[in-house]
């Protein structure tokens, strides 16, 4: 029985209770390699392809397309040919009970908080051995932007994702709202966790933050992955930034969010609602207005990091969604000496739209 590997309904974020198995990408009898896309799953918040955590021979598909299953429900079974069908039947039959029990008792990883000079910062931690990886979200985002990445990346080592000041559930009153606040907070976060050295991966504005942290503290940063980053060129979609900052209701916010994805159907009601809940919090509007004014006034990026990062000698790679409508993917070539990866069929939120590919690139680079 030990040779049997289950494939389960994933848990994306704290609030996910169930998901719909939309479509299978692998047939029974197929050999799966780790990282292969095996199925599409939809929740009320988002839809995404699920990548295999383990490799093996797919012996049995238990989950039916179009059906909804609780988190950690058994969807398929992998096992070598030496395992008999009867053993697989027995495994599938026996699986029911632990799934039901686990659903009630186990809450999964929760968020943590750190009191830093900027104020209270929320973060998610996935412990492990080795040099940790810190994930830094972009303008207006939060650590849940790494929903499809954090657990997959944690297979390679410890991973942390934080909410920058003014974002998510972190402090909203820290000022001035600018690059230095973000950079100082990442360093203070590393100090708080007693991390001498870390890999950084930053998305969008978080890329500018990660690059700047590395340029200022090259000895403490093992590598930097910049995903659709700010800081490598002048242009930025000011319509998006202004639209996002000014939106107060669903009708204004949804069109702004459409710019973020190549597949605009990913902008769900629940995604818009969650962002509105964040934007309504006291202080957020002021913070984002000030931050946008400092970093992206008049459709131009005020802060650049390409030269300083290249000079720092910290290994860097750039990942970009080819159809990025916020920051042009052409900026990818502006970081000298860095490996660049353009991912087709993906927009600005490439780490969500093509999570398996981004996870593979980050894992390989960090290793």
């Amino acid at each position: 029985m030990a040779e049997i590997t289950p494939i389960l309904m994933p848990k994306w974020g704290l609030s996910m209770r169930e998901g719909k198995l939309a479509v299978w990408h692998v047939a029974e009898g197929a050999t799966i390699a780790p990282g292969d896309e095996i199925m599409d799953v939809e929740t009320d918040k988002i839809a995404n392809a699920v990548e295999a955590a383990d490799g093996g021979l797919l012996r049995r598909r238990v989950g039916v397309e179009g059906e909804t299953y609780p988190v950690r429900a058994l969807l398929a079974v992998m096992a070598p040919e030496s395992v008999s069908d009867a053993e697989i039947d027995a495994y599938v039959a026996a699986y029911e009970a632990p799934a039901a029990a686990g659903d009630e008792g186990e809450e999964g990883p929760s968020y943590e908080f750190a009191d830093l000079p900027a104020g209270r910062i929320r973060y998610a931690a996935r412990p492990g051995d080795g040099t940790p990886l810190i994930l830094i979200h972009g303008f207006g985002g939060d650590l849940d932007n790494w929903l499809f990445n954090i657990d997959a990346l944690a297979e390679g080592g410890p991973v942390y994702a934080l909410d920058l000041p003014g974002h998510g559930q972190s402090v909203k009153s820290a000022r001035p709202a600018g690059l230095d606040l973000m950079v100082d907070t990442v360093i203070a976060f590393m100090d708080h966790l007693k991390l001498d050295k870390a890999h950084l991966a930053g998305h969008s504005m978080g890329g500018l933050v990660a690059g700047t942290v590395a340029a200022r503290n090259p000895a403490r940063i093992a590598s930097v992955t910049l995903i659709c980053p700010a800081g490598l060129g002048a242009e930025i979609n000011s319509g998006y930034i202004d639209g996002f900052v000014k939106a107060t209701g669903r009708k204004d916010l949804k069109p702004a969010l459409m710019h973020l994805f190549k597949d605009q159907s990913l902008v769900s009601r629940s995604m818009v609602d969650d962002l509105l809940k964040y934007k309504r919090l006291d202080g957020v509007q002021d913070f984002l207005t000030e931050l946008a004014g400092n970093l992206f006034a008049n459709g131009a990026q005020a802060r650049q990091v390409a030269e300083a990062l290249a000079a720092s000698g910290v290994p860097a790679q750039v990942i970009w969604g080819e159809a990025d409508a916020i920051i042009p993917a052409a900026h990818a070539g502006n970081l000298k000496g860095a490996a660049t990866h353009l991912i087709p069929d993906a927009g600005h939120m490439v780490q969500m739209e093509k999570s398996a590919e981004v996870n593979r690139l980050v894992r390989d680079f960090v290793a």
């Binding site: 929320r122 559930q169 107060t248 669903r250 009601r269 919090l281 006291d282």
Partner: protein, 335 residues
């Protein structure tokens, strides 16, 4: 960060945070503290159901226990609002609005218009509304249509703790008179509510469930019943969109019309009496502005045109049920 709290605690937290943020926010009403000026325990009541319990200890200078005279203290609140304070007057039960209606209908609602836009009246009247508590005909009414009928008043009726906190904060910060109706049957309901203060803008309905087959438009306690009905209908493959209006004045007709243009079927669910109700208002507007999108006759689900009965058995029959709502949706789907 967000945690799960009750709607009653959401009201308390909103009042606490706003009185802390702004010392001009004051509360007044009958027994909102309880026992002030008398021997014995301070803060003995905290409102008739304990909603404002604990606030007096933190904000002793911002809370006034008033005599049993709604006409006096609602008038005082309206006057104080014109003079620079942000009073939150608690009417206990909205059924008592009769004795102080002139202060609202002819005074608060009119000042901005009659003084050339120069007068602002940032007053909030909080009151419990609705049936299901066996509180009988004089303590169970849903008077949203009566109040929404008056231009110059804003009328809010939340369905859940998250909306309740954000809408109450918006009510206090708003510069116009707001009637804030708290359904007493929802006080114990729970949900995720951020600890931080936040304001939800008025006139923005919430699509609480998406669906393509029919639209249910409702608010307050009927949101939960409509969601139950949607669950029942889903078993038959019927996907219902449920819209929570959240504010009855202003009202978000855009969201309603957009939804009906998609589904072609409309059920208006209202806990108020059927004549001249919010349900009628929605139905009439849709019939006028989206007639071409309708595939079937609009249905309204309301109580009968009768006072709320005291008998528990009769009261349960009086309040629209999930089964009645589901039946109305099915009716829109008949050929």
């Amino acid at each position: 960060m967000a945690r799960v709290i009750s709607m009653k605690d959401a009201v308390n937290e909103a009042l606490d945070q706003e009185m802390t943020r702004d010392p001009t926010v004051i509360m007044l009403g009958e027994d909102i503290v309880g026992g002030t000026g008398a021997k014995g325990e301070d803060d003995a009541w905290g409102g008739v159901l304990g909603v404002s319990k604990g606030l007096y200890a933190k904000h002793p200078k911002q809370m006034i226990d008033t005599p049993l005279s709604e006409s006096a203290y609602v008038g005082a609140a309206v006057g104080a609002a014109t003079a620079g304070l942000r009073p939150v007057a608690e009417l206990m039960f909205v059924d008592f609005v009769g004795v102080c209606l002139d202060q609202l209908l002819n005074q608060a609602a009119k000042f901005r218009y009659m003084f050339g836009g120069k007068a602002e009246t940032p007053v909030v009247i909080r009151a419990m509304c609705g049936a299901g508590f066996q509180a009988a005909a004089q303590h169970s009414q849903m008077l949203t249509p009566l109040l929404a009928h008056i231009p110059g008043l804003k009328v809010v009726c939340p369905s859940n703790p998250y909306d309740c906190k954000g809408l109450l904060i918006q009510s206090i910060r708003d510069n116009d008179p707001v009637i804030f109706l708290e359904h007493k049957n929802l006080y114990a309901s729970t949900g995720d509510v951020p600890e931080e203060p936040y304001a939800i803008p008025f006139g923005e309905a919430n699509i609480v469930r998406e669906g393509d087959d029919a639209t249910i438009v409702t608010y307050g306690q009927m949101v939960g019943r409509s969601l139950e009905a949607a669950d029942m209908l889903k078993k038959d493959g019927i996907e219902v969109e449920v819209i929570d209006l959240r504010t009855l004045s202003p009202i978000d007709m855009d969201t309603v019309l957009e939804s009906v243009e998609n589904t072609g079927r409309l059920v208006c669910v209202d806990e108020a009496s059927p004549r001249c109700s919010i349900a009628c208002d929605i139905a009439a507007n849709v019939a006028q502005d989206a007639f071409g999108s309708l595939k079937s006759a609009i249905q309204m689900v309301t109580p009968p045109h009768a006072p709320v009965p005291f008998s528990a058995a009769l009261e349960a029959l009086y309040i629209p049920s999930a089964a009645q709502i589901a039946h109305a949706v099915r009716k829109t789907m008949e050929d």
